[in-house]
């Protein structure tokens, strides 16, 4: 940033419009503004700060010129503003901050709620283009938090050289060299890495392997059970074939073939009865699961009674449709065909019916429900009878099956007890095969139950495996993110340390170089250090820290050396605006500063008292001054005018 011009309007003691151009040539880059104490140097310094950042106006009283307020009529508007022209990176800008107030009857001023701030870019053809984000743009050019290192008050310039100033030194280096940005990036990355680490710790690592093991085991078990079930089916078939063979054999033995034939007949009967029992049970199931309405006859009766009461009150015309009544009224004829007159008892009755009936769709609904519910009583009776009949049939079938089973047992016992050893042996084998079939059937039942359970388990495992696979993919991604974030944080940390240290050493070297130029006891001070803890230290000829012993002037020189060193190292294009910088300095350092500092800043603005700049100091600056002004304070009006000093 290079300042070009400032224009003040009714700003503090600057009544009306006052303008000042800043020197910005390469050779003549110094602007000197002279003023006695109270003439308005600090107000001008304040005007630059307030215009650019809206800051510095606290505890300094009203900014609007008192003279302008005094001269305004009650109710009249008073405008105050500061305009600043500057260039930066080849572009020209104009910023203007203004404040408005209304002169009140009692002479005070009522200020508008907020100041107005605008910024414009001056295009190549002189046109001004409004910048929509002026605050952001100003901060990008010269951030607000570093401004005090470029626009500084001479009274406070020794701040950096005080023994307790390590924090100020560190802050200055951080802000000017944007180390804070790097440090913030590192902190954010470390926080993100820490979050990823926690998430990884809570993730389901290893779950997929366990689930896959479970799935494999369950599938292995399922295969075994299914194989065994198939084997049992084969065994059952084999046993049945053996039984058929035995039965065939028994049918061929003369003395007992009648028993076998009887068993065949009983067997057929049993099969038939069992099949019938199955059907009856299905019937019972169908009837009983749909018999819910049979338990609600009282509720149905209650609803019917309510509907009946409505009907009796004429609110539901029994089977008479609204349309039918409406037709009768339209024809003015009774249902018997006799005509009636308007207002007659018949006519009035029909009108009442229409008024009292329910809405059309509801009326239809009520009629339909009433009709259906009236059939429920019969339905209930039928349903109960059907159930009773089927239950009775079931009991009969159960008895018949029991009898047939007993008959089968009896035949088997007769054959087993047969005096013919062959018959007895065959029957024993037959009974063993039957027992085998029963055993295999039980086993098959158990296997079927286990197989169903395993299939359910596998289906459940498949879902969990699918979820675990998703988690694993997420975990891998999380791991990559964590690794990258941590490495980035580490890299930024290393870069930050290297960069901060490099900057510190470069600033240290530059500060030392400038300090040696500016100080008048250069042989007494051997070195300048900025420690790793950012302590700015001066080492004397005895090799000992000398900062506590520095005079106020020496501290001012050390601070100035540090600030100008930072300005040089940062390579930021920025003006150095110094308000009463030489107040505490004796002639030698003042001479040195005026000799060397103009080369250390891109632009130098000095706000000085008449005592601060004279003799050799003045002579040193002579060839570098571009503009020189005198602040002329008028005791009659308490206003200041800016008068350019004409240089010969």
């Amino acid at each position: 940033m290079k300042l070009e011009r400032i224009t003040l309007e009714n700003f503090r003691q600057y009544f009306g419009r006052e303008r000042l151009d800043f020197a910005k040539d390469k050779q003549r880059r110094v602007t000197v503004i002279h003023g006695v104490n109270g003439a308005g140097k600090t107000s001008l310094f304040l005007a630059i700060n307030w215009c650019l950042y809206g800051e510095g106006a606290n505890n300094v009283g009203e900014l609007i010129s008192k003279e302008a307020i005094k001269l305004a009529r009650p109710g009249e508007r008073v405008d105050m503003s500061v305009e600043l022209d500057f260039s930066h990176d080849g572009e020209r800008y104009l910023v203007k901050r203004s404040r408005r107030g209304i002169r009140m009857m009692d002479g005070s001023v009522q200020i508008d709620s907020s100041d107005e701030f605008m910024m414009m870019r001056i295009l190549w053809d002189g046109q001004a283009q409004l910048i929509k984000n002026p605050i952001g743009t100003i901060n990008a050019i010269l951030p607000s938090n570093v401004r005090s290192y470029y626009l500084f008050d001479g009274e406070k310039i020794d701040d950096f050289a005080k023994p307790e100033a390590a924090k100020e030194v560190k802050d200055a280096i951080y802000l000017i060299f944007k180390l804070e940005t790097l440090d913030r990036a590192r902190r954010h990355l470390e926080t993100a890495a820490s979050d990823y680490r926690k998430e990884l710790k809570n993730s389901t690592s290893g779950e997929l392997i366990n689930l896959l093991d479970d799935d494999e085991r369950a599938r292995g078990e399922l295969r075994k059970k299914e194989d065994r079930k198939a084997e049992a089916a084969v065994e059952i078939d084999a046993a049945r074939r053996k039984i058929n063979d035995i039965d065939q054999h028994l049918r061929g033995i003369q003395n007992i073939k009648f028993l076998q034939q009887q068993r065949d007949r009983v067997g057929q009967d049993l099969k038939q009865r069992r099949s019938e029992l199955e059907d009856v049970q299905y019937q019972i199931r169908d009837i009983s699961t749909t018999s819910y309405f049979t338990i609600l006859q009282p509720a149905i009766d209650d609803a019917l009674q309510r509907l009946e009461e409505k009907r009796e009150r004429g609110e539901i015309p029994s089977n008479i449709r609204r349309q039918f009544v409406q037709d009768l009224i339209a024809q003015m004829r009774c249902i018997c065909g006799r005509p009636f007159t308007d207002g007659s008892p018949e006519h009035q009755h029909l009108l009442r019916l229409i008024d009292n009936t329910l809405p059309g769709s509801l009326e239809d609904d009520v009629l339909e429900i009433t009709a259906t519910l009236r059939t429920f009583s019969e339905r209930v009776g039928r349903q109960r009878n059907d159930l009773t009949a089927q239950m009775k049939r079931r009991a009969e079938l159960v008895d018949q099956i029991r009898d047939l089973d007993a008959e089968t047992d009896d035949i088997g016992r007769q054959l087993k007890d047969s005096p013919l050893e062959e018959v007895s042996s065959l029957e024993l084998q037959r009974q063993n095969f039957l027992a085998d079939i029963d055993r295999y059937n039980i086993e098959t039942g158990e296997l079927t139950r286990d197989i169903e359970g395993l299939k359910e388990k596998i289906a459940h495992l498949e879902k969990r495996i699918s979820q675990a696979r998703k988690n694993e993919r997420r975990e891998k991604l999380l791991s990559i993110k964590f690794d990258l974030t941590q490495r980035a944080a580490d890299a930024i940390k290393d870069t930050y340390q290297t960069y901060a240290n490099d900057m510190r050493l470069r600033i240290e070297a530059k500060t030392k170089e400038i300090f040696k130029l500016l100080i008048w006891k250069e042989s007494h001070f051997r070195d300048v250090h900025i420690s790793q803890d950012f302590d700015l230290e001066v080492i004397d000829r005895y090799g000992r820290p000398a900062r506590p012993e520095l005079s106020a002037g020496e501290r001012q020189v050390l601070s100035l050396s540090f600030i100008t060193a930072m300005s040089r190292i940062s390579e930021e294009e920025a003006p150095l605006v110094m308000d009463t910088p030489f107040g505490r300095l004796s002639s030698q350092p003042r001479n040195n500063i005026t000799k060397y500092v103009p080369d250390m800043a891109d632009q130098l603005v000095l706000l000085v008292t008449d005592e601060e700049l004279r003799d050799q100091a003045r002579a040193n600056l002579e060839s570098r001054i571009g503009y020189e002004y005198q602040l002329e304070f008028d005791p009659m009006t308490s206003c200041t005018s800016i008068v350019e000093v004409v240089r010969k």
Binding site: Q281, Y282, I284, R285, D286, S288, T289, T290, S291, Y292, F293, T294, I295, L296, A299, I300, D302, A303, L304, R306, L307, K310, L358, P359, S361, L362, D365, V366, E368, I369, T372, L373, F376, R379, R384, L387, M391
Partner: protein, 139 residues
Amino acid sequence: MTEILNRETVAIDEAAHDIYKQLTEGNNMLEAPFKTMKDMFMWATCLGVKLGLRRPLTTKRITIFRWAQFDPQIDIPLLKAIAIKDSGDMSILLRRNDILTVAEEYANAGIYELRASLLEEYGQPLWNLVSLISELKEA
């Protein structure tokens, strides 16, 4: 307008869903006698009405079937009769949502009575259901 807003689905509390599944799933009619969840819902509703037990749905609602599955000759007149008895208001017949809410709330209480009778008593659920019909006939 009333037609547009009519609810099409019938819901139960998530907490009762397992009971419905236990008595409808599988191929053993003695253990799981109900062919449909609709029949079971109707049983639960009627049992709730019969015993005067009613409970609003409180946990997550689960849809188990649609209005179209109700038998128009038995189920719908029965549900309407229950709604009339419950509210004493004929106009409830025009509000399907209210009819369903009444039924759902009775079913939400009746289902636990059905479970107690069919699953917690000694014997197989089908024969327990037949016994229940017989008991309620006499009650």
